[in-house]
Protein backbone atom coordinates (compact mmCIF):
# COMPACT_ATOMS: atom_id res chain seq x y z
CA UNK A 1 0.00 0.00 0.00
CA UNK A 2 1.30 3.44 -0.87
CA UNK A 3 1.71 6.11 1.79
CA UNK A 4 2.32 9.83 1.48
CA UNK A 5 5.73 10.75 2.87
CA UNK A 6 7.84 13.90 3.04
CA UNK A 7 11.36 13.28 1.70
CA UNK A 8 13.28 14.11 4.85
CA UNK A 9 10.99 12.01 7.04
CA UNK A 10 11.16 9.12 4.57
CA UNK A 11 14.96 9.22 4.79
CA UNK A 12 14.80 9.17 8.59
CA UNK A 13 12.29 6.32 8.68
CA UNK A 14 14.30 4.39 6.07
CA UNK A 15 17.41 4.63 8.24
CA UNK A 16 15.60 3.03 11.16
CA UNK A 17 14.13 0.34 8.91
CA UNK A 18 17.68 -0.43 7.79
CA UNK A 19 18.66 -1.04 11.40
CA UNK A 20 20.28 2.29 12.17
CA UNK A 21 19.88 3.01 15.89
CA UNK A 22 22.41 5.82 16.30
CA UNK A 23 21.99 9.25 14.80
CA UNK A 24 24.15 12.28 15.53
CA UNK A 25 23.22 15.58 13.92
CA UNK A 26 23.03 19.34 14.02
CA UNK A 27 20.17 21.52 12.77
CA UNK A 28 20.32 23.16 9.34
CA UNK A 29 17.62 23.93 6.78
CA UNK A 30 16.37 22.24 4.56
CA UNK A 31 17.01 18.89 6.29
CA UNK A 32 15.67 19.55 9.80
CA UNK A 33 12.85 17.02 9.54
CA UNK A 34 15.46 14.23 9.55
CA UNK A 35 16.84 14.93 13.06
CA UNK A 36 13.38 15.98 14.28
CA UNK A 37 11.79 12.71 13.14
CA UNK A 38 14.59 10.67 14.66
CA UNK A 39 14.53 12.62 17.94
CA UNK A 40 10.86 11.68 18.18
CA UNK A 41 10.96 8.06 17.03
CA UNK A 42 14.43 6.73 17.82
CA UNK A 43 13.91 6.22 21.60
CA UNK A 44 10.81 4.03 21.13
CA UNK A 45 12.82 1.76 18.85
CA UNK A 46 15.64 1.43 21.33
CA UNK A 47 17.89 3.86 19.53
CA UNK A 48 19.91 6.92 20.41
CA UNK A 49 19.51 10.44 19.03
CA UNK A 50 22.12 13.03 19.96
CA UNK A 51 21.99 16.67 18.92
CA UNK A 52 25.66 17.61 18.74
CA UNK A 53 27.21 21.03 19.35
CA UNK A 54 28.31 21.26 15.70
CA UNK A 55 28.47 19.31 12.48
CA UNK A 56 32.12 18.62 13.28
CA UNK A 57 31.22 17.04 16.61
CA UNK A 58 28.38 15.07 15.00
CA UNK A 59 30.58 13.47 12.34
CA UNK A 60 33.18 12.61 14.98
CA UNK A 61 30.47 10.99 17.11
CA UNK A 62 29.68 8.98 13.98
CA UNK A 63 33.35 7.97 13.81
CA UNK A 64 33.31 6.78 17.42
CA UNK A 65 29.98 4.95 17.15
CA UNK A 66 30.86 3.34 13.83
CA UNK A 67 34.25 2.33 15.20
CA UNK A 68 32.37 0.74 18.08
CA UNK A 69 30.51 -1.42 15.55
CA UNK A 70 27.14 0.32 15.15
CA UNK A 71 25.12 1.28 12.08
CA UNK A 72 25.21 5.08 12.10
CA UNK A 73 23.88 8.04 10.16
CA UNK A 74 24.21 11.81 10.16
CA UNK A 75 22.54 14.33 7.92
CA UNK A 76 23.05 17.95 7.01
CA UNK A 77 22.91 20.44 4.17
CA UNK A 78 25.70 22.02 2.14
CA UNK A 79 27.51 24.38 4.60
CA UNK A 80 27.13 21.75 7.31
CA UNK A 81 28.49 19.06 5.00
CA UNK A 82 31.56 21.24 4.43
CA UNK A 83 32.18 21.11 8.18
CA UNK A 84 31.78 17.35 8.18
CA UNK A 85 34.56 16.84 5.63
CA UNK A 86 37.14 16.47 8.41
CA UNK A 87 35.32 13.48 9.79
CA UNK A 88 34.50 12.00 6.38
CA UNK A 89 38.15 11.77 5.34
CA UNK A 90 39.00 10.14 8.71
CA UNK A 91 36.15 7.66 8.21
CA UNK A 92 37.46 6.88 4.73
CA UNK A 93 41.01 6.24 5.89
CA UNK A 94 40.01 4.32 9.03
CA UNK A 95 37.65 2.24 6.82
CA UNK A 96 34.55 2.95 8.86
CA UNK A 97 31.04 2.50 7.46
CA UNK A 98 28.65 5.44 7.80
CA UNK A 99 25.73 6.99 5.96
CA UNK A 100 25.79 10.74 5.39
CA UNK A 101 22.80 12.54 3.91
CA UNK A 102 23.25 15.89 2.16
CA UNK A 103 20.06 17.77 1.27
CA UNK A 104 21.89 20.33 -0.84
CA UNK A 105 21.05 24.04 -0.72
CA UNK A 106 22.26 27.09 -2.62
CA UNK A 107 25.84 28.20 -2.14
CA UNK A 108 28.65 29.11 -1.98
CA UNK A 109 28.95 30.41 1.57
CA UNK A 110 25.75 30.68 3.51
CA UNK A 111 24.00 30.84 0.12
CA UNK A 112 20.33 30.23 0.68
CA UNK A 113 17.94 27.45 1.63
CA UNK A 114 16.69 26.75 -1.89
CA UNK A 115 17.49 23.42 -3.59
CA UNK A 116 20.81 23.06 -5.36
CA UNK A 117 23.21 20.50 -6.84
CA UNK A 118 26.35 22.55 -6.37
CA UNK A 119 28.04 20.10 -4.01
CA UNK A 120 28.66 17.61 -6.83
CA UNK A 121 32.41 18.14 -6.91
CA UNK A 122 32.66 17.91 -3.11
CA UNK A 123 30.64 14.69 -2.97
CA UNK A 124 32.22 12.88 -5.92
CA UNK A 125 35.88 13.88 -5.40
CA UNK A 126 36.12 12.84 -1.79
CA UNK A 127 35.52 16.29 -0.34
CA UNK A 128 38.14 16.26 2.40
CA UNK A 129 41.91 15.90 2.28
CA UNK A 130 43.68 12.97 0.69
CA UNK A 131 43.05 10.32 -1.96
CA UNK A 132 39.66 8.86 -1.23
CA UNK A 133 36.15 8.48 -2.60
CA UNK A 134 32.73 7.94 -1.15
CA UNK A 135 29.90 6.08 -2.85
CA UNK A 136 27.34 8.73 -3.83
CA UNK A 137 23.69 7.78 -4.37
CA UNK A 138 21.42 10.37 -6.00
CA UNK A 139 17.67 9.79 -5.51
CA UNK A 140 15.27 11.50 -7.91
CA UNK A 141 12.08 10.73 -5.98
CA UNK A 142 10.92 10.13 -2.42
CA UNK A 143 10.62 6.44 -3.27
CA UNK A 144 14.28 6.37 -4.23
CA UNK A 145 15.23 8.46 -1.19
CA UNK A 146 13.65 5.77 1.00
CA UNK A 147 15.13 2.87 -1.00
CA UNK A 148 18.64 4.31 -1.42
CA UNK A 149 18.94 5.29 2.23
CA UNK A 150 18.29 1.69 3.21
CA UNK A 151 20.71 0.35 0.60
CA UNK A 152 23.37 2.85 1.66
CA UNK A 153 23.81 1.08 5.00
CA UNK A 154 24.56 -2.27 3.36
CA UNK A 155 26.93 -0.64 0.87
CA UNK A 156 28.75 1.11 3.73
CA UNK A 157 29.10 -2.13 5.67
CA UNK A 158 30.15 -4.28 2.70
CA UNK A 159 32.85 -1.86 1.55
CA UNK A 160 33.70 -0.38 5.00
CA UNK A 161 33.40 3.21 3.86
CA UNK A 162 31.21 6.31 4.11
CA UNK A 163 28.28 6.42 1.67
CA UNK A 164 26.64 9.70 0.76
CA UNK A 165 22.97 10.08 -0.12
CA UNK A 166 23.08 13.24 -2.22
CA UNK A 167 19.72 14.93 -2.74
CA UNK A 168 18.53 18.50 -2.59
CA UNK A 169 15.99 20.64 -0.78
CA UNK A 170 13.30 19.63 -3.28
CA UNK A 171 13.64 15.95 -2.45
CA UNK A 172 13.87 16.78 1.25
CA UNK A 173 10.78 18.96 1.37
CA UNK A 174 8.54 17.37 -1.26
CA UNK A 175 5.83 14.80 -0.46
CA UNK A 176 5.14 11.80 -2.67
CA UNK A 177 3.35 8.48 -2.39
CA UNK A 178 5.80 5.71 -1.70
CA UNK A 179 5.76 2.05 -0.92
CA UNK A 180 7.88 0.73 1.93
CA UNK A 181 9.93 -2.12 0.62
CA UNK A 182 13.03 -3.88 1.79
CA UNK A 183 15.86 -3.75 -0.70
CA UNK A 184 17.61 -7.09 -1.24
CA UNK A 185 19.95 -7.46 1.72
CA UNK A 186 23.59 -8.20 1.11
CA UNK A 187 25.79 -10.61 2.95
CA UNK A 188 27.54 -8.47 5.52
CA UNK A 189 31.06 -9.15 6.79
CA UNK A 190 31.44 -9.51 10.57
CA UNK A 191 32.84 -6.36 12.22
CA UNK A 192 35.84 -8.06 13.75
CA UNK A 193 37.69 -4.75 13.77
CA UNK A 194 35.20 -2.98 16.08
CA UNK A 195 36.35 -1.49 19.39
CA UNK A 196 33.71 -2.99 21.63
CA UNK A 197 35.87 -4.31 24.47
CA UNK A 198 38.16 -7.27 23.79
CA UNK A 199 37.32 -8.97 27.12
CA UNK A 200 40.72 -10.64 27.01
CA UNK A 201 39.49 -12.83 24.16
CA UNK A 202 41.28 -11.18 21.24
CA UNK A 203 44.11 -8.70 20.69
CA UNK A 204 43.16 -5.06 21.25
CA UNK A 205 41.55 -3.41 18.24
CA UNK A 206 42.66 0.01 17.04
CA UNK A 207 40.60 2.35 14.87
CA UNK A 208 43.08 4.66 13.23
CA UNK A 209 43.86 6.83 10.21
CA UNK A 210 47.51 7.59 11.03
CA UNK A 211 50.18 5.88 8.92
CA UNK A 212 53.35 7.78 9.72
CA UNK A 213 55.59 5.51 7.68
CA UNK A 214 55.49 6.49 4.00
CA UNK A 215 55.37 2.89 2.77
CA UNK A 216 52.50 2.09 5.15
CA UNK A 217 50.53 5.17 4.07
CA UNK A 218 50.99 4.37 0.40
CA UNK A 219 49.95 0.79 1.02
CA UNK A 220 46.78 1.99 2.73
CA UNK A 221 46.03 4.26 -0.23
CA UNK A 222 46.55 1.36 -2.63
CA UNK A 223 44.21 -0.82 -0.57
CA UNK A 224 41.52 1.85 -0.75
CA UNK A 225 42.12 2.38 -4.47
CA UNK A 226 41.70 -1.32 -5.20
CA UNK A 227 38.40 -1.28 -3.33
CA UNK A 228 37.25 1.77 -5.30
CA UNK A 229 38.02 -0.03 -8.57
CA UNK A 230 35.99 -3.01 -7.40
CA UNK A 231 33.08 -0.71 -6.51
CA UNK A 232 33.23 0.97 -9.93
CA UNK A 233 33.01 -2.47 -11.49
CA UNK A 234 30.15 -3.77 -9.32
CA UNK A 235 28.07 -0.87 -8.07
CA UNK A 236 27.76 1.64 -10.90
CA UNK A 237 24.11 2.48 -11.50
CA UNK A 238 22.13 4.56 -13.97
CA UNK A 239 18.74 4.70 -15.66
CA UNK A 240 17.82 5.58 -19.20
CA UNK A 241 14.60 6.99 -20.58
CA UNK A 242 13.81 6.93 -24.31
CA UNK A 243 17.52 6.86 -25.03
CA UNK A 244 17.61 3.90 -27.46
CA UNK A 245 17.00 5.93 -30.61
CA UNK A 246 17.88 9.40 -29.31
CA UNK A 247 19.65 12.04 -31.36
CA UNK A 248 19.93 14.39 -28.42
CA UNK A 249 20.66 13.04 -24.94
CA UNK A 250 20.09 14.86 -21.68
CA UNK A 251 22.31 13.81 -18.79
CA UNK A 252 20.87 14.78 -15.42
CA UNK A 253 20.51 13.38 -11.90
CA UNK A 254 18.15 13.90 -8.97
CA UNK A 255 15.68 16.77 -9.29
CA UNK A 256 17.25 17.92 -12.58
CA UNK A 257 16.54 14.51 -14.10
CA UNK A 258 12.81 14.99 -13.43
CA UNK A 259 12.91 18.30 -15.29
CA UNK A 260 14.94 16.76 -18.13
CA UNK A 261 12.38 13.96 -18.40
CA UNK A 262 9.68 16.57 -18.95
CA UNK A 263 11.85 18.11 -21.67
CA UNK A 264 12.22 14.70 -23.35
CA UNK A 265 8.42 14.34 -23.52
CA UNK A 266 7.98 17.85 -24.93
CA UNK A 267 10.59 17.21 -27.63
CA UNK A 268 9.17 13.80 -28.49
CA UNK A 269 5.74 15.46 -28.88
CA UNK A 270 7.38 17.68 -31.53
CA UNK A 271 8.90 14.68 -33.27
CA UNK A 272 12.43 15.25 -31.92
CA UNK A 273 14.14 12.09 -30.72
CA UNK A 274 15.29 13.13 -27.27
CA UNK A 275 16.40 10.83 -24.46
CA UNK A 276 17.59 10.95 -20.88
CA UNK A 277 20.58 9.33 -19.21
CA UNK A 278 20.31 9.53 -15.43
CA UNK A 279 23.33 8.63 -13.30
CA UNK A 280 22.13 7.07 -10.02
CA UNK A 281 25.60 6.58 -8.57
CA UNK A 282 27.43 9.88 -9.06
CA UNK A 283 30.54 8.13 -7.81
CA UNK A 284 31.22 5.72 -9.36
CA UNK A 285 30.01 7.67 -12.40
CA UNK A 286 28.49 5.45 -15.13
CA UNK A 287 31.05 6.53 -17.70
CA UNK A 288 31.20 3.32 -19.74
CA UNK A 289 27.43 3.21 -20.25
CA UNK A 290 27.24 6.91 -21.02
CA UNK A 291 30.06 6.63 -23.55
CA UNK A 292 28.31 3.74 -25.28
CA UNK A 293 25.05 5.67 -25.46
CA UNK A 294 26.73 8.83 -26.77
CA UNK A 295 28.60 6.76 -29.37
CA UNK A 296 25.37 5.54 -31.02
CA UNK A 297 25.36 6.56 -34.71
CA UNK A 298 22.03 8.40 -34.26
CA UNK A 299 23.42 10.65 -31.49
CA UNK A 300 24.14 14.24 -32.43
CA UNK A 301 24.55 16.05 -29.11
CA UNK A 302 24.67 15.59 -25.37
CA UNK A 303 23.25 18.17 -22.94
CA UNK A 304 24.14 18.18 -19.24
CA UNK A 305 21.40 19.68 -17.08
CA UNK A 306 22.21 20.49 -13.48
CA UNK A 307 21.46 22.87 -10.62
CA UNK A 308 24.98 24.29 -10.59
CA UNK A 309 27.10 26.35 -12.93
CA UNK A 310 28.45 23.11 -14.38
CA UNK A 311 30.06 20.41 -12.24
CA UNK A 312 28.66 17.04 -13.38
CA UNK A 313 29.35 18.18 -16.94
CA UNK A 314 33.05 17.45 -16.31
CA UNK A 315 32.25 13.77 -15.77
CA UNK A 316 29.94 13.81 -18.79
CA UNK A 317 32.75 15.21 -20.95
CA UNK A 318 35.21 12.65 -19.61
CA UNK A 319 32.75 9.88 -20.46
CA UNK A 320 31.83 11.25 -23.91
CA UNK A 321 35.54 11.85 -24.51
CA UNK A 322 35.11 14.24 -27.40
CA UNK A 323 33.08 12.00 -29.70
CA UNK A 324 29.99 14.26 -29.45
CA UNK A 325 29.54 17.91 -28.55
CA UNK A 326 28.47 18.43 -24.91
CA UNK A 327 26.36 21.42 -23.89
CA UNK A 328 25.24 22.73 -20.52
CA UNK A 329 22.07 24.05 -18.99
CA UNK A 330 23.28 25.01 -15.56
CA UNK A 331 21.24 27.04 -13.09
CA UNK A 332 22.51 27.92 -9.66
CA UNK A 333 21.79 29.70 -6.40
CA UNK A 334 18.57 27.73 -5.94
CA UNK A 335 17.31 28.05 -9.53
CA UNK A 336 16.42 25.02 -11.66
CA UNK A 337 16.95 24.16 -15.34
CA UNK A 338 13.43 24.55 -16.69
CA UNK A 339 12.14 22.05 -19.29
CA UNK A 340 11.62 24.85 -21.83
CA UNK A 341 15.27 25.90 -21.52
CA UNK A 342 16.31 22.34 -22.25
CA UNK A 343 13.90 22.10 -25.20
CA UNK A 344 15.18 25.36 -26.69
CA UNK A 345 18.83 24.36 -26.38
CA UNK A 346 18.12 20.93 -27.86
CA UNK A 347 16.35 22.46 -30.87
CA UNK A 348 19.18 24.97 -31.30
CA UNK A 349 21.99 22.40 -31.26
CA UNK A 350 20.11 20.06 -33.59
CA UNK A 351 19.35 22.83 -36.07
Amino acid sequence: MKELWKGNEAVAEAAMRAGCRYFFGYPITPQNEIPEYLAKHMPARGGVFVQAESEIAAINMIYGASGAGARVMTSSSSPGISLKQEGITYLACAELPAVIVNMMRGGPGLGNIAPSQADYYQATRGGGNGDYRTIVLAPASIQEAADFTQEAFDLADVYRMPVIVLADGTIGQMMEAIEWRTPPRRELPAKEWATNGHRGERPHNIINSLFLDVADCEEQNCRLQERYELIAERETRYEEYMAEDAEVLFVAYGTSARLARAAVLKLRAQGVKAGLFRPITLWPFPEVALHARAAMPSMKAVIAAEMSTGQMIDDVKLAVNGIRPVYLVGRSGGAMPMPMELVELALEVLA
Binding site: M61, G67, G197, I206
Partner: protein, 243 residues
Protein backbone atom coordinates in the same frame (compact mmCIF):
# COMPACT_ATOMS: atom_id res chain seq x y z
CA UNK B 1 62.34 -14.98 42.92
CA UNK B 2 59.73 -12.58 44.24
CA UNK B 3 58.40 -10.01 41.77
CA UNK B 4 58.44 -6.58 43.40
CA UNK B 5 57.47 -4.50 40.38
CA UNK B 6 56.21 -5.20 36.88
CA UNK B 7 54.64 -3.46 33.92
CA UNK B 8 50.91 -3.01 34.33
CA UNK B 9 48.78 -5.38 32.28
CA UNK B 10 46.99 -2.24 31.09
CA UNK B 11 50.05 -1.40 28.98
CA UNK B 12 51.30 -3.19 25.89
CA UNK B 13 54.85 -4.48 25.82
CA UNK B 14 55.93 -1.63 23.55
CA UNK B 15 58.66 0.99 23.91
CA UNK B 16 57.16 4.50 23.99
CA UNK B 17 58.43 7.34 21.82
CA UNK B 18 58.33 9.97 24.55
CA UNK B 19 61.29 12.27 25.19
CA UNK B 20 63.47 11.73 28.26
CA UNK B 21 61.94 13.47 31.27
CA UNK B 22 58.44 13.71 29.77
CA UNK B 23 55.74 12.66 32.24
CA UNK B 24 53.39 11.08 29.67
CA UNK B 25 54.93 7.69 30.52
CA UNK B 26 54.07 8.10 34.20
CA UNK B 27 50.52 9.19 33.41
CA UNK B 28 50.07 6.26 30.99
CA UNK B 29 51.16 3.97 33.78
CA UNK B 30 48.64 5.45 36.21
CA UNK B 31 45.77 5.02 33.74
CA UNK B 32 46.91 1.47 32.92
CA UNK B 33 47.16 0.51 36.61
CA UNK B 34 43.69 1.89 37.17
CA UNK B 35 42.25 -0.22 34.34
CA UNK B 36 44.01 -3.29 35.73
CA UNK B 37 42.98 -2.71 39.35
CA UNK B 38 39.34 -2.12 38.38
CA UNK B 39 39.45 -5.22 36.18
CA UNK B 40 38.25 -3.31 33.11
CA UNK B 41 41.07 -3.65 30.56
CA UNK B 42 38.84 -5.87 28.43
CA UNK B 43 35.78 -3.64 28.81
CA UNK B 44 37.33 -0.26 28.16
CA UNK B 45 37.76 1.76 24.98
CA UNK B 46 40.28 4.61 25.02
CA UNK B 47 40.45 7.52 22.62
CA UNK B 48 43.86 8.89 21.65
CA UNK B 49 44.29 12.55 20.66
CA UNK B 50 46.46 14.32 18.11
CA UNK B 51 49.63 15.54 19.76
CA UNK B 52 52.48 13.87 21.62
CA UNK B 53 50.25 11.09 22.91
CA UNK B 54 48.85 10.28 19.46
CA UNK B 55 50.50 6.85 19.61
CA UNK B 56 48.96 6.01 22.97
CA UNK B 57 46.71 3.65 20.98
CA UNK B 58 49.78 1.45 20.65
CA UNK B 59 50.53 1.59 24.36
CA UNK B 60 47.22 0.98 26.13
CA UNK B 61 46.12 -2.67 26.21
CA UNK B 62 42.40 -1.90 25.90
CA UNK B 63 40.63 -1.27 22.57
CA UNK B 64 41.57 2.16 21.22
CA UNK B 65 40.39 4.72 18.70
CA UNK B 66 42.52 7.51 17.28
CA UNK B 67 40.51 10.73 16.98
CA UNK B 68 40.93 13.83 14.83
CA UNK B 69 42.57 16.80 16.59
CA UNK B 70 40.39 17.92 19.49
CA UNK B 71 37.50 15.59 18.70
CA UNK B 72 38.21 12.85 21.24
CA UNK B 73 35.23 13.78 23.46
CA UNK B 74 32.90 13.56 20.44
CA UNK B 75 34.40 10.21 19.41
CA UNK B 76 34.09 8.99 23.00
CA UNK B 77 30.44 10.12 23.01
CA UNK B 78 29.79 7.94 19.97
CA UNK B 79 31.45 4.92 21.58
CA UNK B 80 29.77 5.33 24.97
CA UNK B 81 26.29 5.81 23.48
CA UNK B 82 26.68 2.54 21.58
CA UNK B 83 28.20 0.66 24.53
CA UNK B 84 26.97 2.21 27.81
CA UNK B 85 28.34 -0.87 29.59
CA UNK B 86 31.94 -0.14 28.61
CA UNK B 87 34.32 2.32 30.28
CA UNK B 88 35.38 5.01 27.81
CA UNK B 89 38.17 7.51 28.32
CA UNK B 90 39.90 10.22 26.34
CA UNK B 91 43.56 11.09 26.80
CA UNK B 92 44.25 14.60 25.53
CA UNK B 93 46.86 17.31 25.60
CA UNK B 94 46.39 21.06 26.03
CA UNK B 95 46.37 22.05 22.37
CA UNK B 96 43.96 19.24 21.57
CA UNK B 97 41.58 19.81 24.47
CA UNK B 98 41.82 23.52 25.29
CA UNK B 99 42.23 25.01 21.79
CA UNK B 100 40.84 23.13 18.79
CA UNK B 101 38.67 20.82 20.92
CA UNK B 102 37.22 23.35 23.37
CA UNK B 103 33.69 22.97 22.03
CA UNK B 104 33.85 19.17 22.15
CA UNK B 105 35.06 18.99 25.76
CA UNK B 106 32.63 21.63 27.04
CA UNK B 107 29.64 19.97 25.38
CA UNK B 108 30.62 16.44 26.38
CA UNK B 109 30.64 17.78 29.95
CA UNK B 110 27.36 19.62 29.37
CA UNK B 111 25.66 16.42 28.20
CA UNK B 112 27.09 14.65 31.20
CA UNK B 113 28.63 11.98 28.99
CA UNK B 114 29.65 9.12 31.22
CA UNK B 115 33.27 9.21 30.13
CA UNK B 116 36.58 10.07 31.80
CA UNK B 117 38.95 12.63 30.34
CA UNK B 118 42.62 12.62 31.26
CA UNK B 119 43.89 16.10 30.36
CA UNK B 120 47.69 16.37 30.21
CA UNK B 121 48.62 20.03 30.53
CA UNK B 122 52.26 20.86 29.77
CA UNK B 123 51.63 24.44 28.68
CA UNK B 124 52.94 23.94 25.15
CA UNK B 125 52.40 22.13 21.83
CA UNK B 126 54.91 19.30 22.04
CA UNK B 127 54.67 17.18 18.91
CA UNK B 128 54.56 20.10 16.48
CA UNK B 129 57.65 21.59 18.07
CA UNK B 130 56.92 24.00 20.90
CA UNK B 131 54.22 26.41 19.71
CA UNK B 132 52.13 28.47 22.12
CA UNK B 133 49.24 26.58 23.72
CA UNK B 134 46.11 28.07 25.33
CA UNK B 135 47.73 27.04 28.63
CA UNK B 136 51.14 28.62 27.91
CA UNK B 137 51.91 30.96 30.80
CA UNK B 138 52.17 34.72 30.36
CA UNK B 139 55.84 35.47 29.66
CA UNK B 140 56.61 31.86 28.70
CA UNK B 141 58.46 31.59 25.40
CA UNK B 142 57.21 29.39 22.58
CA UNK B 143 58.13 29.18 18.90
CA UNK B 144 54.99 31.15 18.02
CA UNK B 145 55.47 33.48 21.01
CA UNK B 146 59.22 34.06 20.63
CA UNK B 147 59.17 37.07 22.96
CA UNK B 148 57.05 35.31 25.55
CA UNK B 149 53.25 35.16 25.76
CA UNK B 150 51.93 38.70 25.92
CA UNK B 151 48.74 39.08 27.93
CA UNK B 152 47.63 42.09 25.89
CA UNK B 153 47.85 40.31 22.55
CA UNK B 154 47.52 36.64 23.40
CA UNK B 155 45.44 36.70 26.54
CA UNK B 156 45.86 34.69 29.71
CA UNK B 157 46.00 30.90 29.89
CA UNK B 158 42.76 28.92 30.10
CA UNK B 159 42.05 27.09 33.36
CA UNK B 160 40.09 24.08 32.13
CA UNK B 161 39.40 22.44 35.50
CA UNK B 162 37.82 25.61 36.83
CA UNK B 163 35.83 26.13 33.63
CA UNK B 164 34.46 22.59 33.44
CA UNK B 165 33.65 22.55 37.17
CA UNK B 166 30.93 25.15 36.49
CA UNK B 167 29.06 22.69 34.24
CA UNK B 168 26.33 20.62 35.92
CA UNK B 169 27.08 17.50 33.84
CA UNK B 170 30.66 17.42 35.14
CA UNK B 171 30.56 15.46 38.40
CA UNK B 172 34.26 15.33 39.14
CA UNK B 173 37.15 17.65 38.25
CA UNK B 174 40.55 17.54 39.90
CA UNK B 175 43.95 18.98 39.03
CA UNK B 176 47.08 17.08 40.00
CA UNK B 177 50.79 17.26 39.10
CA UNK B 178 52.58 13.99 38.31
CA UNK B 179 56.11 15.19 38.96
CA UNK B 180 57.01 13.81 42.39
CA UNK B 181 56.05 10.78 44.45
CA UNK B 182 53.28 12.41 46.53
CA UNK B 183 51.94 14.06 43.37
CA UNK B 184 52.00 10.81 41.41
CA UNK B 185 50.14 9.01 44.21
CA UNK B 186 47.53 11.78 44.27
CA UNK B 187 47.22 11.63 40.49
CA UNK B 188 46.64 7.88 40.72
CA UNK B 189 43.89 8.33 43.29
CA UNK B 190 42.23 11.01 41.16
CA UNK B 191 42.33 8.91 37.99
CA UNK B 192 40.97 5.87 39.78
CA UNK B 193 38.21 7.87 41.37
CA UNK B 194 37.22 9.34 38.01
CA UNK B 195 36.91 5.86 36.48
CA UNK B 196 34.99 4.57 39.49
CA UNK B 197 32.51 7.45 39.22
CA UNK B 198 32.14 6.73 35.51
CA UNK B 199 31.40 3.06 36.20
CA UNK B 200 28.77 4.15 38.72
CA UNK B 201 27.17 6.21 35.93
CA UNK B 202 27.61 9.50 37.79
CA UNK B 203 28.46 11.68 34.79
CA UNK B 204 31.40 13.36 33.12
CA UNK B 205 34.70 13.05 35.01
CA UNK B 206 37.85 15.07 34.40
CA UNK B 207 41.40 14.83 35.70
CA UNK B 208 43.91 17.51 34.69
CA UNK B 209 47.50 16.40 35.12
CA UNK B 210 50.21 19.07 35.03
CA UNK B 211 53.10 17.62 33.09
CA UNK B 212 56.61 18.59 31.98
CA UNK B 213 57.99 19.08 28.49
CA UNK B 214 61.76 19.36 28.98
CA UNK B 215 62.42 19.25 25.21
CA UNK B 216 60.26 22.20 24.26
CA UNK B 217 60.76 24.12 27.48
CA UNK B 218 64.52 23.88 26.85
CA UNK B 219 65.20 22.55 30.35
CA UNK B 220 66.71 19.43 31.83
CA UNK B 221 64.13 16.98 33.23
CA UNK B 222 65.05 18.02 36.79
CA UNK B 223 64.86 21.75 36.04
CA UNK B 224 61.57 21.17 34.21
CA UNK B 225 60.03 19.72 37.36
CA UNK B 226 61.23 22.71 39.38
CA UNK B 227 59.90 25.09 36.72
CA UNK B 228 56.49 23.39 36.79
CA UNK B 229 56.25 23.74 40.57
CA UNK B 230 57.43 27.34 40.59
CA UNK B 231 55.45 28.61 37.62
CA UNK B 232 52.59 26.33 36.62
CA UNK B 233 51.26 25.35 40.03
CA UNK B 234 50.68 28.96 41.20
CA UNK B 235 48.62 29.69 38.05
CA UNK B 236 46.99 26.25 37.88
CA UNK B 237 46.34 25.48 41.57
CA UNK B 238 46.14 21.79 42.44
CA UNK B 239 43.03 20.38 44.07
CA UNK B 240 39.51 19.08 43.67
CA UNK B 241 37.26 21.52 41.79
CA UNK B 242 34.13 19.41 41.57
CA UNK B 243 32.99 16.44 43.55
Amino acid sequence: MKTVYQRSKGLMDAPTHYCPGCTHGVIHKLVAETLEELGIIGTTVGVAPVGCSVFSYNYFACDMQEAAHGRAPAVATGIKRVHPDLAVFTYQGDGDLAAIGTAEIVHAAMRGEKITTIFVNNAIYGMTGGQMAPTTLVGQKATTAPFGRDKERQGSPLRMCEMLATIDGCVYAERVAAVDVPGILKAKRAIKKAFQLQLEGAGFTFVEVLSTCPTNWGLTPRDAIAWLKENMVPYFPLGVYKQ
